[in-house]
Subunit: 471 residues, 3 copies
């Protein structure tokens, strides 16, 4: 940023209006798309190509030259050709010396080559400054201008100035550069566009597994049992009744699993007496996917709400109401009215808080709150949600625990199973809140160590948990 | 970015603390608001004004000088006066030579003048470097600090350094500059704040038209027909029953219209044997508003869910249930129980996926996924949604196709009409998935051409469709 | 940004590869986390520490030196130690002269010290250039890389170059620097992470107060009155019936309170005949929390929808339906069918628009619309929502106003109370829309003044209200 008028005057020389020239090697879709966008943003673009004649698809305003000529004209050369053709650059090594080479390539598979494309390029042309960039952007997005997916461009490279020059171009194209450090990060950056929700893999596999288990469990208890014992065909229960038994169960268990690792970590810290000691790997991974677990739980809760609300429209329910109506009309039972209304009210409030948690985990919302607010919502409101949902389930169940009919073929009903994890989490958390445990835990989290010899070197220091305090 | 301490030392000279001075011509709301914000961000501000005395509204800390004096003091001059008064700058041409003039003006109508205000200014003062900026920001937003609407400041200009200086100011004010290229973009930037959801115009007009058509169609079939034939007044059907017939119909048709252009484009590409040939204009436009179409469809689906869920509360429904109850109680029909539960379950799952699609189209969510993930959600999950919703409608309808009563006055029921487009899309897509068609299509999308002579120059190359591959 | 190749060549000198060195004083959690992230982003880090031996937790690649040695090595020194130990820097004053000191500290309470930590540091070491930064970032976020909460780093400082250098580091770490001006802003920046939803305090307290009032009001009318008069125990009404009476009431009143200040401001402007005159403070504050009021109203509306939709599942309702069924079946009353369906339809449409308003207030959505679109949604659609919701309530109530039974113990029913504010707002707004009032109001908002002597100096000029026009 220039800070005095005299400096500004210097800029008014006639060089300032000269456009910066960028060379692009390769006239494929991506090279052309990038050229099109760069010309729009005020750069001069020269293509380096073997044949100068295939110019009908080249964006208007771009020049097509031989590779050598193009490289001589520009300080930055974008290599928009596949990795397998990189060795054609070898004869150009001299002219490329000192130039910034931008590797934009992607692979077709995760870790396709032992060495990243950018590192391979740097090895081929040691005199050039290789920067990895633009591989996360799609040719279509560049041209249509409708950047629906990521505007983020991960940039890495060993030469800081070269990286800065590329990041300036990224910014000029209206994209957001993200500096990922040295060229060692290239492998990771090249893998990024090939990933399909990596953080979601565990939560989704877990919930698929649990859903399958509970489905067969319910099938046996609610469809096969009555068929075997009473010759009653209620197979249509599969569509809604069983789904609506699985959804709340999954939602409650997954929500409890969001808070279980925090409780486990607190126990480990209390036991070890220090926070400077690594958690086991599984606990680390579990903690990092808590947000995803919570959102899957919210999805199940949402389905549970929908399944519940359409109950009165179901023809089975209408038939049952009608047939029951005729048979008898009992006087209103005040207790059952209380129970029915309470569990519904608890469920509504729990779901409401759950939706609030979901909204605050939207990137743009969580980005506009400070850490204290984020922790308040995710920890305080999160536990309140868990308490409300557990209470909702408990009140719904009511006295069923005592009835023998709840244990068909010795299988307790699903909703009893669903209460195990949440109750454990809540009980342990309740115990941890007592001052005799809370005080040492807070001290440990502020850096105090009971047995300093326990601590080990932690490259990626764990400072988890809501209690964390800075300086 | 400075990279060595010695360089840093140079900056410690006493000039570095001197504030940069910006001049503002015009003391209207916007000029004052900008001055207020700039002073807050550490700039020195001088106003250029005809009368030096109207200083009571001027933000504290700003100087008011004559235009000439103000222009001499600063390298950047913000022209915060209406276009019709620009010619008062003519006598100042000499002092403005080499300065950066920032045009912040807006018009009252789209394309009010044949030439954009910024280009007009550049023509008036050819010696100055004109930059267009800040026109998208509101004076109120600048002052209140609550930037609820866009933080984006579109910047364009022919001089790169001048543009960079203005973008530095934009960043210093906490706003996001977006480089739009040369001054030719000024017209578009000036039109931007006057637009009212331009991308939504077509989807909303289309859905209004279709809604009106289906409304009158239903009115004839469901209200006028029974009145004429059976003298039954069911005009109250308009409020909910008919609305709840239109909403799902619209949702399904619009959702199918989201996927129809992709299917059409695939057919065109297969027929032409190349992707390097422009699609017809209507197809281009249709493709660019698919997201909006999908969101309007989601809105109708949401209304359909609400309308359906309140059914049991309606007094008409309660009355019908009551009156039917007395008359007869049939034994539970297992098939109808299955049908009723399946279509509800299909609807719930379809709506759930639809909501997921809607969430991923939120800017901050779509911005944090990579292209592969975005395509997976919008294409795979999108088609699954369409399949589920179509199945929901088909199962709901069931055997009605066969009943004569479904054809009042030869008009088929609305829900039959609603199935036409989705079924066509699904059938064609199903055909396109077969290897004999999928293989050539994939090759075409990777750049292969059956008849290379077909391809023409495409300034804005079309690379649509999910199959698109880079490099 | 470098603009000519010759300039680029200059950068290829061997200095460009030298890493920039940053010193960190303090080896606590935050210092180490910052060092870890900086090393990742390509900086060289030296720790300044009293003891050189506590290096087991120090991130790999960082050096640990004495404070003096570390300070000599770097141009930027991050002070990651608590404020109470700042005076240990006094002996280092000479070596710190001309250096950039980055204050990253936070306090435990709002306004804990009369002077901000950064200003205190600047006073201690007058020769150094103090910059406040990084205090909003958590150590955990830096290390885990999952920046769920704010990526924003507020930066302030009196020296522009020093600030720029720190902002470059912030950007290199993948965070977003926000320039907050001079060091005077440090107090505010230090208070920021200690705040807990400051903008939400008033709306939430207001709604808690009103909710409590309406709860006791309903308790008296709907539970105590029947108990006293008819000895009927309907205490279970508390769980759902009363909640579902409070929620819509609160939603409607809060929504009206969103639009009331705009109407009041218009009246004040009309009365004073100028917009250059400050509104009373309470009106200013009220206006700034309209968004929050609206979102709380949406939350109540959402709860109201949930409470309403589960009505048919409630055992009380089922019992009532059953018992009524037996007793009598009336013929369908067309008028009541119309009324029931209309109020449901109005409610659905009102809620739908309300949800739309909520979605457009998500930061990422509101950030991608221009001001005209934002005003259209928040003002036009907002009023439409208010009209629909008020009509929903009016139609629901219908003829109840006339029934004596609506006035138990002379207390009108809650829903009558809920209509007072919305009706006032709508009536006044309706009056203001008449040309005889709208024309002068528009002129006033464009800067016209009836009695210029009224206007006073307004440091934070008020330009509220949707009618606002720019230059």
């Amino acid at each position: 940023m220039t800070s005095n008028p005299s400096n500004v005057m210097a800029l008014t020389s006639n060089t300032s209006n000269k456009k910066e020239t960028v060379a692009i090697f390769g006239t494929g879709d991506f090279g052309r798309a990038l050229a099109y966008k760069m010309i729009q943003s005020g750069y001069a673009v020269v293509f380096g190509s073997r044949q100068a004649q295939i110019s009908s698809l080249i964006p208007k305003g771009a020049e097509v030259l031989s590779h050598t000529e193009a490289a001589q004209k520009a300080a930055i050369i974008i290599i928009a050709i596949p990795r397998q053709h990189y060795n054609f650059l070898l004869p150009l090594a001299e002219v490329l010396h000192g130039k910034v080479l931008v590797d934009v390539s992607n692979n077709l598979k995760l870790n396709q080559y032992p060495q990243s494309n950018a590192e391979y390029l740097a090895e081929l042309i040691p005199g050039a400054k290789v920067v990895k960039a633009f591989n996360t952007v799609s040719a279509w997005a560049l041209q249509s201008g409708t950047l629906d997916a990521s505007r983020q461009v991960f940039v890495c490279g060993d030469d800081k100035k070269a990286k800065q020059m590329v990041m300036d171009i990224v910014r000029a194209l209206g994209l957001t550069p993200l500096d990922q450090g040295s060229l060692l990060a290239a492998q990771e950056i090249e893998n990024y566009p090939l990933q399909l929700f990596p953080m979601w893999k565990f939560p989704i596999l877990l919930s698929l597994g649990l859903t399958a288990f509970f489905f067969f469990y319910c099938l046996i208890r609610d469809v096969i049992y009555p068929y075997v014992n009473e010759k009653k065909d209620v197979s249509f229960f599969i569509a809604i009744s069983i789904a609506n038994r699985i959804c709340p169960t999954m939602a409650l268990i997954l929500l409890a699993l969001v808070y279980l690792p925090g409780v486990l970590a607190a126990i480990i810290q209390l036991y070890r007496g220090t926070k400077y000691s690594r958690f086991p790997d599984w606990l680390d991974k579990w903690m990092l996917c808590r947000k995803q677990l919570g959102l899957v739980a919210l999805a199940f809760a949402f389905l549970h709400v929908l399944y519940t609300l359409i109950i009165p429209i179901r023809s089975y329910v209408r038939w049952r109401i009608n047939s029951r109506v005729i048979s008898q009309v009992n006087p209103l039972d005040n207790t059952s009215a209380w129970l029915s209304d309470s569990y519904l009210a608890l469920g509504i409030l729990g779901f409401f808080l759950f939706v609030l948690l979901g909204i605050t985990s939207l990137p743009s919302v969580s980005n506009s709150v400070n850490w204290r607010e984020f922790r308040f919502v995710q920890s305080k409101l999160g536990y309140l949600t868990l308490i409300l949902c557990t209470a909702h389930t408990l009140v719904y169940g009511g006295k069923w625990f005592l009835y023998a009919s709840s244990y068909r073929w010795c299988l307790p009903s699903v909703y009893m199973l669903s209460l195990i994890v949440p109750c454990i989490v809540l009980v342990v958390k309740f115990v941890l809140v007592f001052p005799c445990l809370d005080k040492p835990l807070t001290r440990i989290r502020q850096g105090w160590e009971r047995n300093p010899q326990y601590s080990e070197h932690i490259p990626h220091i764990q400072l988890y948990l809501e209690g964390e305090q800075k300086t």
